[in-house]
Symmetry: C2
Subunit: 399 residues, 2 copies
């Protein structure tokens, strides 16, 4: 079925163009300057590629990393287009091995059952850990850290049916360097995160193929001018990607983003959400978020957010409208940061779409509005509110 969408502002990697985006069988087949047949008129709106979230544990009504079952990942797939995400890497955490292994199988099952009518496409899996350094644990579980090994990874990837696309690890741990080489040989991206590596250890890892840094600045050895640490390595190695999460001022200061962005430019900076999906946390599972200063717990099917100040907020975890604002969404992160970018939304299309698609190994079909790629796109008004979201040409519900 051919569909055509008209906009005077279609964001492509080669600039903004006006025209008619033609979609057939879920793919972009042409961008016409003129078109005389039937089309959907998005005049006055911007078309940009859908966001590719390569670091997301949960969203809306689903928390893959904490629940690890099919319903959790299906809920993520369903709820992600509502905030502009059209493809993603469901992201595991550093969790007990049996839970982790089950999660990988679940993700693989869902990846293979996926069709665009379900929502955002899970294009692979990001494993955050378990090969991390307990010195920079962040929100990961210390009791679930494992020693890196090629055999260990291969078992994970077998359970994942070969769908692992990105691994976050601490490159300074024994066994990490051979694993990095192994992963890169297989075309899998490797990111430094939750790491106490020295600058020189980072250099070795980059020489071995490490091509990304997970949540830049957070969960890593800081900068000093005589031992530059991981932060120094990610600033210095401008050709290596680095990701930042929500620009709320909670995780990193906007000016820290700016410094890194000036070094990385549009070509190597990545936005992601690192969302958790609190609403879907297992019953009774208490989780303390040290930055938000809240204990999150589901009790009797009700999600309670217990703040350190004593206040408690109750939420129905089954209702997307009630859980949508628990975390800053990918779209809101883009809105928050777009004015800081060199070319506004054009730059955002690199940071939020094409660069993460490259890291996920799917830039042949995701991440930009170009002929031959999937028709994953957003329709935005001038305030960057979503008017429409398409996954492979299939219009998605927005609420």
């Amino acid at each position: 079925m051919t569909q055509v969408f008209k906009s005077q502002d279609i964001i492509t990697p080669h600039g903004r163009v006006g025209g008619f985006l033609e979609v057939d069988a879920g793919k972009i087949v042409a961008i016409h300057a003129k078109y005389s047949g039937h089309y959907t008129d998005y005049s006055g709106y911007t078309l940009m590629p859908g966001f590719v979230d390569i670091h997301i544990h949960g969203w809306g009504r689903g928390s893959f990393a904490y629940k690890g079952d099919l319903s959790s990942i299906r809920a993520m797939t369903e709820d992600l287009p509502k905030v502009g995400v059209t493809s993603y890497l469901p992201t595991t955490g550093t969790m007990p091995n049996d839970f982790l292994e089950r999660s990988l199988s679940v993700a693989a099952t869902h990846i293979e059952e996926y069709r665009p009518e379900l929502g955002a496409e899970p294009v692979g899996i990001h494993m955050e850990g378990p090969y991390i350094n307990e010195q920079y644990l962040g929100l990961q579980r210390k009791d679930s850290i494992q020693q890196p090994s090629i055999e260990g990874f291969e078992r994970f990837n077998q359970l994942a049916a070969g769908h692992i696309r990105l691994m976050t690890l601490a490159p300074e741990i024994d066994g990490a360097l051979p694993l990095i080489r192994h992963l890169r040989d297989k075309g899998i991206s490797v990111s430094a995160g939750h790491t106490a590596a020295s600058f020189d250890e980072c250099t070795l890892a980059i020489n071995a193929g490490l091509n990304h840094f997970t949540h830049a600045f957070s969960g890593m050895k800081g900068f000093h001018h005589r031992e530059l640490g991981v932060v120094g390595a990610l600033m210095y190695n401008q050709h290596v990607y680095a990701e930042v999460a929500k620009q709320t001022g909670i995780t990193i200061k906007p000016e820290a983003f700016d410094i890194l962005y000036r070094l990385k430019t549009d070509n190597r900076m990545v936005m992601m959400s690192d969302c958790m999906g609190y609403a879907d946390f297992p019953e009774g599972y208490e989780f303390y978020h040290y930055l938000r200063k809240e204990t999150v717990v589901v009790e009797g099917g009700i999600l309670k957010l217990k703040h350190d100040d004593g206040s408690v907020k109750e939420v129905n975890p089954q209702c997307y409208g009630e859980v949508a604002d628990l975390e800053m969404s990918f779209l809101d992160s883009v809105k928050a940061v777009v004015a800081r970018l060199d070319k506004g939304l054009e730059s955002a299309a690199w940071l939020a779409c094409l660069n993460p698609a490259v890291l996920a190994g799917v830039s042949d079909r995701k991440g930009s509005l170009e002929v031959g790629k999937d028709a994953d796109f957003l329709v935005l008004d001038t305030e960057l509110n979503l008017v429409g979201v398409y996954c492979q040409g299939v219009a998605q519900p927005l609420a």
Copy 2:
């Protein structure tokens, strides 16, 4: 007296040109493409502007900051051209007030007696302290810290006969902001150094006129992504100058230099030496250099360098040839860093010459080879060894 110098490689702010540099009465009066009269032939050599060292306590046989007398500053003036420095700001340290006041008067006397036959031109004074924060003392004296005040500065500047051109201070200290405004109103540069300022305090200082950062990374609050500190402020505010000292790997890692240089570019990065002039330390004055792990002391007119490992090196402090290598020279710093710069020696002419001349307020006559400016220039062979040094057209002895 007119002199003409021929070179196929004259470094100007507008690029490298070949031609004939014509000097009259100490000034560059023309750069001719062709010239038919008598000239000095520097074919095969590069002509570049002499270095402008805005942060130097001592050099060779003179230590102005530690000795504070006329012979010490005269020795600096005499010895600096030997390493390519043709103008400089003799730099006081945070020393007892009576010593400091005497030093300022001495510097003023020397500035006014200066003529090019004496050596490098002292174009003003840099005061490093006494308005600094004891939390980042570095090599400064805690007992000599003072509270910033306009009155205090005015007394200093009166003793200095109005020759203060740059002040390093801690902008977070009470009284610093009004002083910064006062200094900038008078056209005096203000630099943050030995400071525990927060990022926001730096922002206030920059808004008040602060236009430089002293020995970037060292002696200042470090970078953290939620409180960016002074290091974050100097990285973020790309339009504010920042200086780095010797690139030996002792003070800062070369990669830390690179990160900052990419942010500052040729336009806002400054090289200086921060040299001490150990050879001229007062008799019996023990000085422990925590980076070099050496105690330096003059005993019976002999300079002794007592290393922590027990070894002692003895040096004749009156002999330039023996003391020249005690510290890394400005020329050697340039040699060490030039390959890291975007445009090699052309970039170095910004970092080591024009930018510091701007900060010292003398860019109308120093810092670049342009018509109307002083004929302060270096003649360098292809390995950047000095073949000749001219201060206002006067050839200087090189040994």
